[in-house]
């Protein structure tokens, strides 16, 4: 097995590392302190990212994107993941699901997203429908050639800056082997559409400058031309395109692991107590060993899943293992890195308290740790059942 990355991938990593250090890190204190990303800064980062070719690097080269494969995207996301969420998100990676756009939808949504002129957001979750997303209460009712949408979404990331939303709504009920279940359709809905309102979401412990929102639909009428994919096939579209998002979460977690781990190593090697560097105490040194171990394991699972995706497709279990391992490694590493720093770890002068706060969401979104374990255990047990 060869786990080495290519020369071109190493150059991509070097470029991304420098981009993060020069174009993102300097603005972290401001964004963390003000909980806001000024529009001029957002525009500046987009412009710089476009110059360097990092913008929309996940999109096919023939459409104007960077044309990176899944593994290279993981390497890039890992470097970007080191920085504050609001800043790193601005180095746009339009949702892959936009590749399901057809004809006029491409001109209106896909291409402007690749050019950095528009930003998308994805709305599935509702107050009553989280992990059990299919239980959603937001409905789209067909009427002539239109759909009328009613209902609410919450926790919708960066809907405040997005130009349109990729909305998932129930469009009927069907019978399945396990009983009645809702049929779901995906829609592209512009911000200015009548009957659609975006308002501020909840104040969160994570992600200063990057906000979740509440979306309200009240008799919001959209034409059937706004359907993404086929009617009733919303989850088919999502499954086809959104699997990689779990790898993206894993890769971003790895970037944060790196930053916390590097800070912890440096501190353990230089901070002195009882006349010696604290790294000389086994109690501290063994923490570093465990951090290194978990980081490496998460890295290998993530890269292996990505490699698999580039060579015929990864399984659900591989994606779930990568996301689970990386988000849990981050929880452990962020906490231990903070512990190694003692009181200083809690202070906003270092990026650690931010990494520690931000780490929490990674075990919840894009499928909670419990849901990932559900996916893995089902994959294990399914072949053994009904024999």
């Amino acid at each position: 097995m060869n786990f080495a990355i290519t020369e071109a991938q190493q150059m991509l990593v070097d470029t991304a590392k420098r981009f993060v250090a020069e174009e993102l890190y300097p603005y972290e204190p401001e964004v963390e302190k003000t909980d806001a990303l000024p529009e001029r800064l957002r525009r500046q980062i987009i412009a710089r990212a476009k110059e360097v070719g990092l913008y929309a690097a996940n999109m096919p080269a023939e459409l104007g994107g960077g044309g990176l494969d899944t593994l290279s995207m993981c390497l890039l996301d890992r470097e970007l993941g080191r920085a504050n969420m609001a800043l790193q998100y601005t180095v746009g990676r339009p949702s892959n699901i936009l590749l399901a756009c057809v004809e006029a939808q491409r001109e209106k949504y896909l291409y402007p997203c690749i050019r950095g002129e528009k930003v998308d957001c994805i709305a599935m979750s509702e107050p009553g429908a989280g992990s059990d997303v299919r239980s959603m209460a937001c409905t789209a009712t067909a009427k002539d050639d239109d759909f009328v949408i009613n209902g609410n979404k919450h926790f919708i990331s960066h809907a405040d800056i997005a130009d349109f939303v990729i909305l998932f709504a129930a469009t009927g009920v069907e019978q399945s082997a396990r009983g009645a279940r809702k049929k779901i359709t995906a829609f592209l809905i512009d911000k200015a559409t009548q009957g659609f309102n975006v308002r501020a979401g909840y104040a969160s412990v994570s992600h200063r400058g990057y906000h979740n929102c509440i979306l309200e639909f009240d008799r919001c009428k959209v034409s059937s031309a706004q359907v993404l994919g086929e009617v009733h096939q919303g989850f088919a579209v999502a499954n086809q395109w959104l699997g990689n998002t779990r790898l993206q979460v894993a890769a971003i977690c790895l970037g944060r692991c790196d930053r916390a781990y590097e800070l912890a190593c440096e501190y353990a090697a230089t901070r002195k107590q009882f006349n010696q560097t604290i790294g000389k105490f086994q109690g501290v040194a063994f923490k570093l060993a465990d951090m290194a171990l978990k980081r490496r394991a998460a890295e290998l699972l993530t890269y292996q899943a990505a490699w698999q995706e580039d060579h015929g497709g990864m399984s659900d279990m591989e994606a779930a293992m990568a996301k689970l391992a990386a988000s849990e490694a981050l929880a452990f590493i962020a906490d231990e890195a903070l512990q190694i720093h003692g009181g200083m770890g809690l202070m906003a002068d270092l990026p650690l308290e931010r990494i520690w706060r931000d780490a929490r969401v990674e075990r919840i979104w894009e499928g909670s740790s419990e849901i990932q374990r559900l996916i893995i255990s089902r994959a294990i047990l399914r072949p053994l059942e009904n024999r």
Binding site: A8, V52, L68
Partner: protein, 249 residues
Amino acid sequence: MKILVAVKRVIDANIRVRVKPDHSGVETANVKMAMNPFCEIAVEEALRIQQAGDAEEVILFSAGPQKCQETIRTGLAMGADRGLHVLTDERLEPLAIAKMIAAAAEQQGADLIILGKQSIDDDHNQTGQIVAALMRRALGSYISEIKKVAGGFAITREIDAGLEKLRITSPAVVTTDLRLNEPRYASLPNIMKAKKKPIDELSVADLGVDIGCRTEILSVVEPPARQAGVMVSDAGELVDKLKNQAKVI
């Protein structure tokens, strides 16, 4: 005009260098390597001259083991056109490198040779000067500015006394100082393009030069650990200590 830029593979500037236990040199196995920062500045300047329409081609040169091609590839990803790699595992002194660069520049018909003023590993600060001498060309060392003018180049040199402005004749050799420019990113599209750019592999024999060493490394040791400093309470105490204790003023 053709520009030849010499690029050296060195230990990444962000890595803490360790001396080998047998004191024969520094540890390079499993250590992150990168292009010498002054060479990056040299590549950047060549690209700027090319973009201004004053050069048709930017050729990168590196001598050393196979892995040097990664360093050349990095420069190609910045935008250079092609590379020359002299494959050798011998230890190379500035004189040997300079001879190879001079021979390659002659073969390629390079009008301008740009080098870093020094490499951050050996810190010799000699190669550019030797190349100019071997080729009997005008030399501009430690430049912070260069512009193509009729018959040669207008340059600014950073020297102890300030900035020296000179006009030198073409063909020429220049070495870059830190403030010449800020090297660009290897952009993603250029990284992709670099994969297809040619790197010609040469042997020392192809250049017909003698690269034998004139020096021998006896031992490499870590610098002594710095003693802890002393805090003084005011300027008077500082002057007193400098005069009576350190006896330096």
